[in-house]
């Protein structure tokens, strides 16, 4: 009798230390997961020292990453996965495609006379004033998400926050680029009207208050939840999707409509990222699910109240477009309903209903 041949040991030719979320390790997971050192588990030597692993503390003596950087609690933040599976290459390619498409449609609209033929009231009131004022709101989100990625408790959350931060600077800069182009086709286009309105017009003061609150919010998970489950579907929907995109189509401005369309694509991605976070921390497998559910409900209620104030204040803007595609009432009700559905689908009470 001969011995059975020893089965050949197959050496792994891929990263073996990541638990894939699907059957196979994705490129996104391979290039993202465990890039941030985990001082509690993954990167901690077992050895003789039981404490967390820190090399250099902050000047105040606290560690580089602090569990109390968010009120949410989870035993393993590294389990989080971005549903869009974006890593830098796929993300930059997406934004390059969107920006190139906008640049081309702007160029075409310039050459075929569309820009020169735009209604001046549309340009002056809706683009120079409203849309440009709103670029400051997006800028505030960019600013707050950059330090939020610094504090996030895993690489997969950090990359989502990085990319969302970039999204909002893209939106803010896009308005400037479009107005610069319009100046070549129409005289007296006033770029400064937007900042003036943002700082001084009553219409924008609740939004500015909210923007300043957003910049002062340090809890990175609260930002992901509040910005994407409340501000996006309620306020950004009204201020950009309804007021700019829908009216732009009625007023012959295909470029502005296109720009908002690309921002909506980003918004859908960020909504899905926030929904994934909420599901992860409220899942029955999470020992802190009850606590997390209470915290998130508190955030949703709080952000809803602030976003509603900003949304209501926008009512006069709805009368500004030369041709009106949508009334304030229609827009407000639809945005509230969509926001409520997002919250109730995740099992939360939606205080936006009946507001």
């Amino acid at each position: 009798m001969t011995a059975a041949p020893t089965p050949e040991v197959k050496t792994a030719r891929d990263f073996t230390y990541i638990k894939p979320s699907a059957r196979r390790l994705s490129e996104y997971e391979a290039l993202t997961v465990h890039m941030q050192p985990d001082p509690i588990d993954f990167d901690r030597p077992r050895g003789k020292v039981a404490s967390q692993e820190w090399y250099l503390l902050r000047p105040d003596g606290t560690p580089l990453w602090r569990p109390d950087s968010t009120r949410l609690r989870h035993e393993n933040w590294y389990a989080y996965r971005d549903p869009a599976q974006q890593w830098q290459r796929t993300y930059v390619r997406l934004q390059e495609q969107q920006e190139t498409a906008i640049a081309r449609s702007t160029e075409d609209a310039a050459l075929d006379g569309t820009l020169a033929g735009l209604d001046r009231n549309w340009v002056d009131r809706m683009l120079c004033q409203h849309y440009r004022a709103w670029s400051f709101f997006d800028y505030a989100i960019f600013r707050t998400l950059a330090p939020a990625q610094r504090e996030a408790l895993s690489d997969t959350l950090g990359s989502v926050l990085c990319f969302q931060s970039f999204d909002h600077l893209r939106h803010a800069q896009g308005v400037i680029l479009y107005l610069v182009e319009l100046e070549n086709h129409l005289s007296g286009v006033d770029d400064s009207a937007g900042k003036d309105a943002w700082l001084n017009a009553d219409i924008y003061q609740p939004a500015r208050r909210l923007a300043e609150q957003i910049m002062a919010t340090n809890d990175w998970a609260e930002l992901l939840v509040g910005l994407n489950l409340v501000v996006g579907p309620l306020l950004q929907q009204m201020a950009t999707s309804d007021l700019i995109r829908r009216n732009a189509l009625e007023n012959g401005d295909l470029v502005a409509a296109h720009m908002v369309t690309t921002a909506e694509r980003d918004r859908r991605r960020n909504l899905a990222a926030a929904q994934a976070l909420v599901r992860m921390v409220t899942d029955s497998s999470c020992s802190e699910a009850t606590h997390n559910r209470e915290v998130i409900q508190e955030w949703l209620d709080d952000w809803t109240a602030r976003a509603l104030a900003a949304a209501r204040a926008l009512e006069p803007v709805y009368t500004q477009p030369p041709v009106r595609a949508i009334s304030f009432g229609e827009s407000f009700e639809a945005a509230k309903a969509a926001t409520a559905k997002i919250m109730t689908d995740l099992g939360f009470h939606a205080s936006v209903e009946g507001a």
Binding site: F15, T32, L56, V92
Partner: protein
């Protein structure tokens, strides 16, 4: 877009910040510096151009790697001596990029200037890019290199490896403290002084050793670095223009340089000099060109009119660079079973090169390497660790072994603070500790973690075995027919010992106020 329009747009993006009226946020990262509002982003990138530029670069890099390089099986043809060390290099450089991303997040928050903020955002996404690129290279080599073991697990092993752990001590400095201190560590020292010797010169070594994947990745990384250096210069020039900032700026600059020097010059020096097979220049030559002449000579000298001087310890560093890589490499090779690469013993040709490039090298290191070459066969059962009385203590600040610059002139010092003994490899590391002992004193060195461990137990616990469950990932030579197994190690009965508790203290740390 016409150039005039671009300039107009760029002028307008500078004007995004406003003074809050409703909520005045507390500083997330309080800085002790006064930051002038008027500074300049010298690159003037808008998101649209940035995306287009980066996409082109990505397409070139990833396209080349997945197409002709993979088809031509280029990674399999590279020098194995060289390819092996990338198993440790890539988890280290990737953490530097990751820490850099964190640094830029702090800068966006702390530097109250719209123009620089947007420059920092571009850098933030660049750093995500570099993390992904370098992780991609590690994964690419796991797929295509002759021996994937070590590439497949490098990111898991870096937390428990004595050398890769020290990279944390260096790169945590990018974002652990005052945001400007982080910018000095990252942009002014690491990027401006060290990315050229790492990403440019090291790629020349890679290319001449048949490795085209690393240059393809690293040169694409480096193409972003010029912008980061400019960010650093803009930040530094702005800070230095306020005279009140200068004392703190110089102090942070001094420790930033020393922090990066103690890790980078030893680690990169060892990689550079000991893993070349087709030999060219030495690390000391690269250092002299890029760090001494280019950075110390022209970059920092230009700042002298502002009152910024060469960092403290600069002259000492110039001397140390000649030896530190060799010294740490000796310990690195002596501890080979604890590593996750295969080492290639030095040959007569290597000896000749070392003596030519570093006169006096043989007298200090030659005997070790001669002995090492006789200890690679597991049948002989000899570990080069047996050539030394003990592993030297590890530095509380930089976590590198306290035998630098050279064992016979080591500048180690043992002091006490808060009831614990602390070893420092150099006066520069002790100085950093004296300034802010509370930031270091709670840490543990690799030796403190594993003191008393049997070597075989350490290897098993850390996952340093190949897929067969018995052969070590690390090997003392490249020979496939003479590979060490865990049983060979068990027979050695080697116990990891931290010498620190037994070394006499030279007294308490004198804390600087």
């Amino acid at each position: 877009m016409k150039n005039a329009d671009f300039i107009k747009a760029h002028d307008r993006v500078k004007d995004f910040d406003w003074t809050p009226d409703y909520v005045n946020p507390a500083a997330r990262y309080p800085t002790q510096y006064k930051i002038p509002a008027k500074t300049r982003d010298p690159f003037r990138h808008l998101v649209r151009d940035y995306c287009s530029m980066e996409r082109d670069k990505d397409d070139r890099q990833y396209g080349a790697m997945s197409d002709v390089m993979a088809r031509a099986r280029m990674p399999a043809k590279a020098s194995e001596r060289w390819t092996e060390v990338l198993k440790m290099v890539l988890p280290v450089t990737t953490y530097a990029e990751y820490a850099a991303m964190k640094c830029t997040g702090q800068l966006v928050d702390a530097v109250d200037n719209s123009e620089l903020r947007q420059g920092y955002l571009a850098q933030m996404i660049d750093e995500v890019r570099h993390v992904n690129q370098e992780a991609h290279l590690a994964r690419y080599l796991a797929k295509h290199a002759p021996d994937p073991e070590g590439f497949s697990q490098g990111f898991k092993l870096r937390g428990t490896n004595m050398i890769t752990r020290a990279s944390r001590a260096a790169f945590d400095g990018f974002f652990a403290g005052d945001p400007i201190e982080g910018a000095l560590n990252l942009q002014v020292v690491a990027e401006t002084a060290y990315t050229n010797p790492i990403f440019v010169t090291l790629t020349e070594v890679a290319a001449s050793n048949g490795d085209q994947a690393t240059p393809t990745t690293f040169l694409s990384v480096q193409s972003d670095e010029a912008r980061h250096m400019a960010n650093g210069y803009a930040t530094l020039a702005a800070i230095a223009s306020v005279p009140d900032n200068l004392p703190l700026l110089q102090r942070h600059f001094d420790t930033a340089f020393w922090r990066q020097h103690t890790f980078l010059d030893t680690f990169v020096g060892a990689v550079y000099d000991y893993f070349q097979e087709e030999r060219g220049g030495s690390y000391q030559e690269a250092w002299t060109e890029w760090v001494a002449n280019d950075w110390g000579g022209s970059y920092i000298e230009r700042l002298e009119p502002f009152g910024v001087n060469l960092p403290r310890g600069w002259g000492e560093a110039v001397d140390r660079v000649k030896w530190v890589g060799h010294t740490v490499m000796m310990m690195f090779a002596a501890t080979w079973p604890m590593q996750f690469i295969r080492f290639d013993p030095l040959t007569a040709r290597d000896f000749e090169w070392f003596e030519k490039k570093y006169p006096g090298w043989y007298g200090h290191y030659g005997k070790f390497w001669e002995a090492y070459a006789t200890m690679t066969d597991p049948a002989d059962g000899k570990l080069p660790l047996s050539l030394f009385e003990a592993i030297p203590p590890l530095c509380r600040v930089c976590h590198m072994p306290c035998i630098t610059p050279r064992p016979d002139i080591a500048t180690v010092r043992i002091k006490e603070y808060a009831g614990r003994k602390h070893a420092f490899c150099s006066e520069g590391c002790e100085y950093a500790f004296r300034m802010e002992p509370h930031r270091y004193a709670m840490g543990h060195t690799w030796l403190e973690h594993y003191d008393g461990y049997d070597l075989a137990a350490y290897i098993e616990e850390c996952g340093l075995l190949r897929a067969d469950g018995k052969t070590l990932i690390a090997q003392p030579s490249l020979r496939r027919d003479k590979m060490w197994t865990i049983d060979d190690i068990r027979r050695q009965h080697y116990e990891i010992r931290d010498p620190l508790p037994h070394l006499p203290s030279q007294g308490p740390v004198e804390v600087l106020q």
